[in-house]
Symmetry: C2
Subunit: 111 residues, 2 copies
């Protein structure tokens, strides 16, 4: 037996969690929402709407787009998005460790 | 903004979480799976299958049925189910407190 958990941040609606986090990680890595969506087998419009919903619910701009230029357009994370990503990552690591310890404390003898 | 989380215990499949917990709480309170299902606007067969799945996945008998008798049949929790319920309750309370503290530690200034 093991513990499974899902954690997300909510305002009026779901705002930020594992889905947007993984997508933004790919945008940061590949420099493009289009390439990130492709890499995650997701339509561009779905990726776009995930990012826009997170931005709207959080009230934070997450992605900046660079239109045109020699290599075509691209997207990168805003400084605030990078701060959010780092904090979310640290939060999830610490939360995960603590939850596993708690699970063992309460259930290791029983299950 | 606030933190939202779902936590459950899994073996090969989902085994125990908020759904079975709330159902067993009602069974304990009302002394009957039928009455518990009715109270939760759930069909008897759905309630039955939730309990049986949890028992199968956990490998623990959770409910004992008393057939017939003067007041008709009824169901009550096994001693092991009561131990599991208490531990799950304590686990969720402690996990909830810690997660809220962690959320504030990481996000209170940002969000």
């Amino acid at each position: 037996m093991k513990l499974v958990y899902k954690i997300w941040i909510e305002g009026d609606n779901k705002a930020f969690g594992e889905g947007p986090y993984k997508l933004l990680l790919k945008v940061n890595q590949l420099g493009s929402i289009y390439k990130a969506a492709q890499d995650m087998n997701m339509s561009y419009s779905k990726a776009w709407s995930i990012i826009k919903r997170a931005e709207r619910e959080l009230g934070i701009a997450l992605v900046e787009s660079n239109i045109g230029g020699a290599g075509g357009g691209g997207s990168c994370l805003t400084p605030q998005a990078k701060i959010l990503m780092n904090k979310y990552d640290e939060f999830c690591n610490e939360a995960g460790e603590i939850l596993i310890k708690l699970y063992n404390k309460y259930f290791s003898e029983l299950l």
